[in-house]
């Protein structure tokens, strides 16, 4: 266990003590509670990760898919930087069905890439790789639109632009659509639940505050952009 965890436990213990000792409870202030939060936020960094489930080729493929699905940009790192391949490997190591989705999906992807470009996915060029993903996404969108039309409520005017759907692929790319949906789901979740992703969307909560306030600046901003704009 890292030092930060020990510190958090200590702080939690102090909270528990403060609660049980009548009269002393008020001494626990916002700074104390904040300490718990900060300690919890301190991440632990290990050495080079050794995949538990994936072989070298599968690991390289999952890593490349992570880069393609959530790439780095000027503001933040990629899903690889956020630990997406490790996240997937850990979950697969605990779940044979999930492993089968990934190992089978990677094999399908390689076979399809060989058919299209004569090479497996990781050794294809970036252009060939994105062409493959574009084809999968296009197939996925067709299915989504078909399904949305089947939903009764989506026909009412207030549901214009309704976006939810369920994947029921019916094309040759069906196994790819299904695998891609899984890969993207885990990669995107891994990214946005990482310190990098949380900083990227700028989540500023889970703090201990002694007073809760809503900035007037934010209120004015939203009202001036709303139908309730004060002219």
């Amino acid at each position: 266990m890292s030092k930060s965890i020990t510190t958090r436990r200590d702080a939690l213990r102090r909270i528990a003590l403060a609660l049980t000792a009548a009269g002393s409870a008020m001494e626990l202030n916002a700074q104390e509670a904040q300490h718990v939060h900060s300690a919890a936020a301190a991440d632990t960094k290990g050495g080079k990760y050794q995949p538990k489930v994936f072989n070298e080729h599968e690991w390289a493929t999952v890593t490349r898919l992570s880069e393609l699905i959530v790439p780095a940009d000027a503001r933040s790192g990629s899903a690889v930087d956020a630990g997406a391949p490790q996240f997937i490997d850990v979950l697969c190591s605990q779940n044979a069905a999930l492993t089968a989705i990934f190992t089978g999906g990677i094999s399908w992807l390689d076979a399809e890439m060989r058919r299209r470009a004569g090479k497996e996915f990781v050794t294809s060029t970036a252009v060939e790789q994105t062409a493959m993903l574009d084809a999968i996404v296009a197939a996925e969108r067709t299915v989504r639109e078909q399904n949305a039309e089947e939903l009764l409520f989506a026909r009412a005017p207030q549901y214009k632009g309704f976006s939810s759907y369920t994947v029921k692929p019916g094309t040759d790319l069906a196994p790819g659509v299904r695998f891609f949906d899984w890969a993207r789901r885990l990669i995107v979740d891994a990214y946005f639940t990482s310190p990098i992703g949380i900083k990227d969307v700028n989540y500023v909560g889970n703090q201990a505050l002694s007073k809760y306030e809503v900035p007037q600046e934010a209120i004015d901003y939203a009202f001036n952009r709303s139908p309730f704009r004060i002219v």
Binding site: V90, Y165, V188, V204, L209, Y212, A222
Partner: protein, 560 residues
């Protein structure tokens, strides 16, 4: 004294009885609560390798904890080895919590006292049944319960659907809530400070809310009410309370002369049957579990089950009518992010606003509206909508950044009319792993509930479009059921051991005391006669307090 169950009803009972100096045994079917281990209030998703998806990604396969890994839920709609059955053509999902404090460790803390009209609904519209008590009789108990539990809110003299109470200062509304309020103002819908069991000032050893916004994960500081931390732990310190954990009660014992003498339970640790004898028995095991215990307690004196001479035990099962809709609000795009966690849930809510307009509506009774929105802590699934729309690549980041915090959601919680098709009974053909015959559920929504849900849908869509937003989705559960919640999933199940004036059509009197056994009380949601659009917990707190005082007085007089 033996009390079965440790939620809002059982917790209140043992606290009040021990304050009267009465010794209590409290039986809980789950383990002891360890706050430091159980409450994941301050964690971030990256504090665990699975980020909240749970081992093996169980959450992705629909096998995760209800309400997510970080929630402090101990239990769910399915429990290993403790099944229930559902009648053909019916649908019902029975939520059970198995831990000290029960559902109060994680519930929404919505604390709405009933309105005067809620106690006499039959007199108002000829549907359902009247309670054997009036609002004036119960108002002092609501006052006591609100002062003890600690409820935020504000008084409004013109609102029959949200009577005045004893409120702590509410936190200020968030930006999206102010926009919603403005839209509601235009539509003639009231939008007022939320009433939640959160202390915003120091109270009896509880420090004020520190606005981490994670109430569903359990509150380390007990700023959010839970029966375990606020009622039971202090009662344990009195030396008058003994807690028996992993104690699964099977039946109430009686003496053949109209008195309860104790309970039989299975000790889950040893799988052995044990007996506790007591001067009085208080059931607070949850509406359906208490009905199950009574129905499973058959004697020659009580051939239909203890306290069930009327035959109503198990009958008139109700849940709240639920419907939800979400929307995207462009006015919020590009706003400078601020901390929207606040006191956990919404800081505003909309009480029922058409209490005198039933002539113009195609359904009886009403509903309140709960609000969702803000920059919530990213978690498993948070950005899947953005990811699907964008496909892959830079577009996912761009969409997520643009849409984050721009979603709002509404959840309607409405009153159903009790009906003959909604009930639970003992399924004699199935027992659980403790050998106890299980419950079989039957449930039907009627046109009253369906039409109410359609009114919710129309209203929510109108609020969203009035704000300049667009409707984006129904929750998966609601879509599945085509526009009304699956019965049981709102977890407001009540009414199965109802109270009444007449012992021929009710099991309890207005003090939650069984008509047929003076020393048997039922103080969970079972006693409800109707299920107004007011989440049940605060009403359970108030009635349980009154019942405990009544029981103590009966004991003092020598009647029990």
């Amino acid at each position: 004294m033996v009390v079965v169950g440790s939620g809002a009803g059982g917790g209140t009972t043992v606290r009040v009885l021990t304050e009267h100096g009465i010794k209590c045994a409290l039986l809980e079917a789950g383990p002891m609560l360890n706050v430091a281990q159980e409450f994941k209030e301050h964690q971030m998703p990256f504090d665990v390798p699975h980020r909240g998806a749970e081992d093996g990604g169980a959450a992705y396969f629909g096998n995760g904890k209800p309400f997510g890994y970080f929630s402090t839920t101990s239990g769910g709609w399915e429990l290993d080895g403790e099944p229930y059955t559902v009648g053909e053509g019916s649908e019902f999902r029975w939520f059970r919590s198995r831990i000290l404090g029960g559902r109060t460790n994680h519930y929404g803390r919505m604390s709405f006292r009933f309105s005067p009209y809620d106690f006499q609904p039959y007199s108002k519209d000829g549907l359902g049944f009247d309670w054997p008590v009036t609002y004036d009789e119960m108002a002092p108990w609501y006052d006591k319960a609100e002062r003890f539990v600690g409820v935020t809110g504000a008084n409004h003299n013109d609102l029959p659907s949200a009577p005045n109470g004893q409120f702590l200062k509410p936190p200020p509304p968030k930006v999206h809530e102010l926009l919603i309020k403005k839209a509601c103002d235009k539509m003639g819908v009231y939008c007022i400070p939320n009433r939640r069991a959160i202390v915003t000032e120091p109270m009896k050893g509880r420090i004020p809310c520190h606005y981490c916004g994670q109430c569903g994960r359990g509150c380390q500081t007990a700023s959010a009410y839970s029966s375990s931390q606020v009622e039971i732990f202090p009662a344990m310190k009195s030396g008058k309370l003994t807690v028996f954990n992993n104690a699964m009660v099977r039946e109430v014992l009686t003496d053949g002369n109209g008195k309860a003498t104790g309970v039989v339970y299975i000790d889950k640790n040893t799988r052995r049957e044990k007996v506790i004898r007591a001067r009085a028995v208080v059931l607070a095991a949850s509406a359906c579990e208490s009905a199950r215990i009574l129905l499973n307690s058959k004697t020659t004196e009580f051939p239909n089950g203890v306290a069930n001479g009327s035959g109503v035990v198990g009958r008139f099962l109700m849940d709240s009518v639920g419907f939800g809709l979400s929307g995207n609000v462009p006015a919020l795009e590009g706003m400078k992010h601020y901390n929207t966690d606040g006191a956990g849930g919404a800081h505003l809510y909309m009480p029922w606003w058409l209490w005198d307009k039933h002539g113009k509506l195609d359904f009886p009774r009403g509903y309140h509206i709960e609000i969702g929105g803000g920059y919530g802590m990213p978690g498993i699934g948070s950005f899947q909508g953005a990811a699907r729309r964008a496909g892959y690549g830079q577009g996912i980041k761009d969409t997520a950044r643009k849409e984050y915090g721009c979603s709002i959601g509404f959840a309607g919680r409405g009153e159903m009319i009790p009906n003959m098709h909604s009930y639970c009974e003992i399924d004699r053909s199935v027992v659980d792993r403790w050998g106890i015959p299980v419950l079989k559920f039957h449930f039907k929504w009627t046109d009253y509930e369906w039409k109410q849900a359609r009114h919710m849908e129309k209203t929510f869509a109108e609020i969203i479009t009035t704000m300049g937003g667009r409707v984006t989705g129904l929750s998966a559960a609601q879509r599945e059921a085509d526009g009304i919640s699956t019965p049981g999933t709102i977890i407001h199940e009540v009414g199965t051991v109802r109270m009444g004036k007449d012992r021929r059509d009710s099991a309890l009197n207005k003090y939650c005391q069984a008509h047929e056994l003076k020393n048997l009380y039922v103080v969970d949601g079972g006693f409800f006669v109707s299920n107004p659009d007011k989440n049940p917990t605060l009403t359970i707190n108030a009635f349980a307090w009154r019942a405990a005082d009544h029981l103590a007085e009966e004991m003092r007089k020598g009647n029990v």
